[in-house]
């Protein structure tokens, strides 16, 4: 299983901060995003508006996922 962590407005809409995704051999980051979109249609996940990390490293949508990975869906925080 992969853990997908939600924050901020995504967490508010979903009502939870973590969801689990069963992962197969060819599960990609983009699949995790699609999973969130289907489960919570009200969450808008435009690619430019979020930063995805896998195990605390910035990840592209085509990065493969494996069991026990943690995917974080974050906004871009530049620091004011």
């Amino acid at each position: 299983m992969v853990t997908i962590e939600l924050f901020g407005i995504h967490r508010e809409i979903a009502g939870i901060d973590k969801i689990k995704l069963p992962v197969g051999e060819k599960t990609l980051v983009s699949d995790a995003l699609d999973y969130v979109r289907k489960k919570f249609p009200a969450i808008s996940l435009k690619e430019y508006s979020v930063l995805i990390t896998v195990n605390h490293e910035v990840a592209s949508p085509d990065r493969p996922l494996k069991a026990d990975d943690t995917v974080c869906i974050l906004p871009h925080i530049g620091g004011g």
């Binding site: 901020g8 430019y48 508006s49 979020v50 605390h56 974050l74 925080i77 530049g78 620091g79 004011g80």
Partner: protein
Amino acid sequence: MLETGLHVAFDDCYNFVEALIYSLVPDNIPVRKRVYSTEEENTQYMKILAEIRYRPAGVVGGYTDRILRVDLSTQEISIQKLPPDFKHMYTGGRGYALKLIWDETGRDTRHDSPENLLVMASGPLGNEPGFPGTGKFIVGSISPLTDTFIDSNVGGHFGPLLKLAGFDALAVSGIFGEDAVVLIDGDNGTISIAAAPVYDEKTDKGALSFGARLLQDVNSGEYSDSLAAVVAGEGAVNSRFGIVNSLYYDRRRQRLRAKQAGRGGTGTVMRTKKLRGIVVKSGLPRANGNNAVDKKLVRQAGASLQKVITHCDHLQLNLSAWGTTGLSEYMNRFHIFPVNNYQFGQSPEAPKLFASVFLNEYFSKNLPDGCYYGCNLACSKGVETVVLTRGPMKGMTVSVDGPEYETVAAVSNMGIFDPRFVLEYNWYCDEYSLDTISTGVTGGFFMECVERGFLTHEDIGYALEFGNIDAVDRMLHEIGRGEGFGRIAGQGVARGKRWVAEKYAARKGLDADEVMTELNKFGMEVKGLEFSMYVTRESLAQQGGYGFSLKGPQHDETWLIFIDQVHREIPSLEDKANALKWFPLIRTWFNATGLCKLPWIDVRNPEAAGTPEPVKNTPTLAYYIDYLNGTTGSRKDLQDILDDSERLQLLQKLINLRQGKGTRENDRIPLRAMSPVFPHEYQVRAEYYDTWLKDNAGDRAVPASPEEKLKLLQEEREQAYQKLCDIVYDKKGYNSQGVPKRETVTKFGLLDEKAGRLLKEYGE
């Protein structure tokens, strides 16, 4: 009657003659120093002590080329006309403040020296309702905490109104004999020094309360958005970290709102000068307030940025709904949220302080907020109705402007996770005029001193411990009123450390300097300024961001912690050093020009994804460059504005050198900013640190014992920071001691005789 009639007739004649003279002179002339001799001639509560009449200079391309000079020692009011090229060398805003303080203060100038200047200035891009975030101004001075230049950035209407009243900057020098106010009336063409009104004890001690009365008194009992004020309360008298409150009338909320120039003690400087408040008035229209050279370009740039904010903010940080409190959950998740004097970066209690709590339970909703017109990011949240449950105003119903993230985290830093207390702490700090950050970091330091046995409850007078709300509340009021332990705490961490060291050394028969060595490990200050509210030990880039910051560890120069620690977008030393060169230049450019940086840095433009370095958000920066060129008529590109900003940074570095705060030694940061200090800090994240050591210790074997692991970690982190210093200094054109090289200063046109002598002192 006859006496009165003659008096009126004389006054009418005098006014006629004065008006005739005034119409014949171009700008200003102190036609008379008006001294009122009877109560009837005074404003109801204020005795005018000195006054000039003037004609406000118009704004052209964002500038008036005028500085208002007020010397409180001599009661002289004058208008300094600047040569047209001044603004090309010294942008701002911030540039004006730096140049004035470089020229008119010296090595021995301290915050309370008469020659110290208190400068307030917006910048060429302040005051444009067609562009988001143009309500910012800076307050610059020699700081009571750092003894060198500080510029504190603040929002509201004061800066724009000052410009409309005819001035790019206000520079106050001298020290008055009694409390005074300065009144700048751009509509009637008068500038006055008046004896500060005396209302009642409660009102006079506060900032918000005094400012509210003052703004009504100068406008026949009415608030108006044609007026704004800056004020500082009794906490600014009694501490070194007094703030300047910027008050303005919000038509939507129908009340006064307050923003703060929070860092570095500029409010303390203000009260040291016996300056109780400054009011500025101008009824000129705000639209096209800068008289832009290319109004169409300005409109287009503003519309483009507003569109990005509208479409993107609610999908990202959601600042328009949550304000900056939205940062709390991200900081907590990644161990960046300060808890118990930065010992920890995370707490299971932190969700009590997340944005949703403030939004659902406290913030006013359905009110477009903002600190200035035209900003649709509108992140200045507030709570309309709070009944105070503590302190001298217990039972009073107040409105709270805030809290910002930093205030929330200042409270968590003291081990408190009560959102209601955050609001009361916010309000009292504003009313007293205390920096919420310095108060929270100083409180956290003393709490840890108690925890570690350096101080006892008897030393303080009560149980100042992490999580003790009553104790924090007591400390806050003691600082504000200058009572009890507050007299010590109000000095800040740097001076507080010395007090603790001497006390503990005397008690234990130790050497005070050795005790200081221990306290320096967890006393969170650099150059005398307390850290702002981010735990940096897992971000080497942010350690540098705080250490190299010219004013002290305030994040407005550099905030790289997320792209370094969380995104890992700048993994190598070279990457970090490049970021530490670039980001401070662009971030402080916003401070120089009268702009808020949040619409750029915290709202990612969709087009940024297709650029080589999306984190720089250059498509949005392009709007700012258009706004600049459209306003001023310049033809600058991004490199030009970075060069303008670098000139100002170098000038600030020269001031730091002169004041003894400009070398590598002054860029040292506490051990806690780099590493766990004590074993329990390692143990709470033992797995993480064990892995870090395996991955980073190179050829050095990872020891088995926890004590030796901690020692190795500390050594590795200290070495990494020193290596970072070397590479960053090189990139900035400094020598290995952090002193700018002669050729660097020459390149930016700053090598005059004074700078040359100074560099020679430091071996350049």
